[in-house]
Symmetry: C2
Subunit: 119 residues, 2 copies
Amino acid sequence: MNILTRMQDALRRFKAQIFQALAHPTRIAIIEALRDGELPSSRLMALLKVEQPNLSQHLAVLRAKHIVVNRKVGNQVYYAVRDPVLIDVLDLLRKYFNSHLAETKAMLGEMAPRGRRRP
Amino acid sequence: MNILTRMQDALRRFKAQIFQALAHPTRIAIIEALRDGELPSSRLMALLKVEQPNLSQHLAVLRAKHIVVNRKVGNQVYYAVRDPVLIDVLDLLRKYFNSHLAETKAMLGEMAPRGRRRP
DNA sequence: TTAGTATATTCATAACTTCGCATGTACTCA
DNA sequence: TGAGTACATGCGAAGTTATGAATATACTAA
């Protein structure tokens, strides 16, 4: 197996890892919330309405893939998207979503929030 | 909860599903192989060097999300990427990969094909 | 019809992901 | 020092995904 093939395999595994890291609604919401700049974890928690340990775990996933970076300021930890190209990726997918809206309606139906009902 | 919020949630779930579908090296290789047009399943099998049932299962994942479309011609089934915007997404990630190459070298090490890690 | 080729599906098992809960760490301020 | 805040980590249950092996379906050609 030559070195070029191996490089391409590595690149595919890399892409797959990035996709995997982005493959969760909460993590996508995190990226979107950070679109215009950094925010402290506490602010994300308030915006996304998720439990603190859960948010922290999702942030850990994004950190592990270097999708977000963080800096500590006193008591708080500010998070930011490392590379805006990921925002572009999300924007492309919004376009994709819109241009196939009719065809994906069925899919959306099956994507209803799991077992959630009026409280 | 208002309708706009609900729509945004749906969009995020949709994006997450697309990312999940793309989150596998073999499926990424499929998309890349189809970059310049449709190919029959048999050709994909030869290119990717995977077992036939395995390829078929990955194609089923991509079909379920309408990422690829297929048409039957006699004995064979031709597959094509439905929307070239997904090719653009992969290209963006290649850019991303290249611009962070140094920083992701460590990550690449951990991404070696399973079971080749040293203690 | 039968044999052969191309592709899809089913099944079992193993590996991974997600969540809530409990706990741990790090920092601030009195 | 101690109490409080902000965030991270470890754990176990439940659910999801990936794989190879076996089998099924669909089409072609003789």
